[in-house]
Amino acid sequence: MNTNKWTRRAVAAAASFAALQALAANPIKIGVPVGLSGANSVVAPSVVQAAELAVEEINAKGGVLGRMLELEVADDASGAAGAQKAFDSLIFQKKVNVLISMETSAARNAGLPIVTRGKTPYIYTSFYEGRSCNKYMFVNAWVPDQQVAPIVDYFMKTNKAKNFFLVGSDYAFGRGMLEFTKAYIGKKGGKVVGEEYLPMDGSDWTAVINKLKTAKPDAIITSTAGGAPNVTLTKQLRAAGITLPYGNLAVDEGTAKDMGADAEGIVISGSYLTNIDSPKNKAFMAAMQKKFGDKLKTPNDLSVPQYEAVYLYKAAVEKAGSTDAEKVVTALATVKTEGPRGTIQMNKQRHAPLTMYLGQVQKDGGIKLLETFKDVDPGAQCPNLK
């Protein structure tokens, strides 16, 4: 009688204690397939750092719906084959609740069928060539409709440029960006006098520069793969004495700064610059510096969307009241977050209106802000998705 009552209470206490343990040990897993090796390996560490900071901040405030967030990072080798392995292992073995990452277009395209099969929400945080649509995917980074116009408009207005020469790497991003650029230039009354591509790992731009000199354009716009191709092209352009207005659609602040004197004058356009003068950005930069110290990889236009995406997921789960994929997907289309880039909401056909910054690389490596464009619309990216 007494023994039974106390036994029952002990059992109940133990049971609820175990349940609490289970609840605490039931984290929400965020899968991050990213290019730790391969073409994206230079920028991947900054993306992982951004995700780590977001997770740490959210967990410190109690997690999401009382559950802690946990990161599962997998290497997609920056390509299709690696992405298949990474997505498979994250979705079916580690059973993550969501995928949040930045990847090459090749990797993303290979991973999407797996995302559909696994019915996992996916926030893609990399800028890309646009028009990639999947029931489970949302994008919080820019598309050409947002990034190209500022550069072309600037050259046409300031440099009175009419003839443009386009150079790119031969893959989805390079071709997609330049296809959009060509159409936009045509719409604005300009002319494209040349369009040349080199394979992604190509480093010899001799023939391209030869054609460029023959075509005598007023301005150059390039969209190469990140990292080495940007550097080799810029070095060889400068070695050949080309000083034309040069807009680079695919170089990040960090690489542009490192390139030194060769990069002077390059015009870049993006949704993030480290010197954005807002309280949220200043707080973000300070927090990153405090957490990572001298191991900090400069936040950039590919890593900051990752940070904001984790917060967007948190908002979606809280609005949906669970991590159920269908409910989260519905919520992701409406939630918003205040991030270093401003207010981010993926409510335009799963893409987000963004404030774009036009900058020019200076001789000392700094970026001078030329113009700011508030809340640029991403255009009709996925008209067939409801």
Binding site: Y197, N210, T232, G241
Partner: protein
Amino acid sequence: MSLLLDILSTAAILFIVSCGLLLIFGVMKIINFAHGGFLTLGGYAPLLVTQWGWSPWAGGAVAFVIGIGCGALVERFIVRPLHSRPLDAILATWGLGIVIGQLITLAFGRGVQFAASPLSGTVHLFGTEYSVYRLALIGMSLAVAAAIAGVLNGTRLGLITRAVTMNETLARGLGVNSARVRLSTFAFGAGLACLAGALITPLSSVDPNMGVPWLTNAFMLAMISGTSLLSLGVACLLLGGAQVLVSVFGSPVLGALTIVVLGALVLRIRPGGFARG
């Protein structure tokens, strides 16, 4: 006119990159697949030189010395034990190339690095602006060719190297220490690869994978040149010229295939390649 200069400078770069591979192939009858790794290793020498504050011109010399040292070690400990198994030796060099790339990544990081260039700017030539460095490379390739020819034809080591190239068994029968020749050839070939890596950095980026794309073209050029440096020069001019022409009048994407496709065709028609006899 600038098209002609493009062809000459492209041929020059191809020659500098491939001559080390050809030497090793000629003497040891194996293709050193770590060639791309040595190119990359040499590419980082200008970076070190910049960090130490030396003159950028020292980059090539430092690279050459590093190459000889590493080449000698590799030959002694990896290639020589596999002397009687050439296919395994080739595989071993392939693995070595991967290891070198990863070691460089561990030491310097994955990112693209920047090294000071010894020559920059353009010169006004025949009505167009042309890169001074590319022109200098034409001169440098001729100097390298002359140096190799000088060593091969003017020194005793060169003499016995040529003997081993022609027929190793016979040379050993005559008392030539072929093991020493193999060691010195591999070291020299690796040194040339590193030198080439250092010489191409002003036009390319310094990163752990910079040497890899050159390997295929160098391999094809070495295959069709037999054992003669002169044939290599001719091959670089012809195939390099074809690559430039296809890139300019067709597309650079096709141009990247030219050397490999033409090389395969040449070998099909004339298995001896460009070598005479």
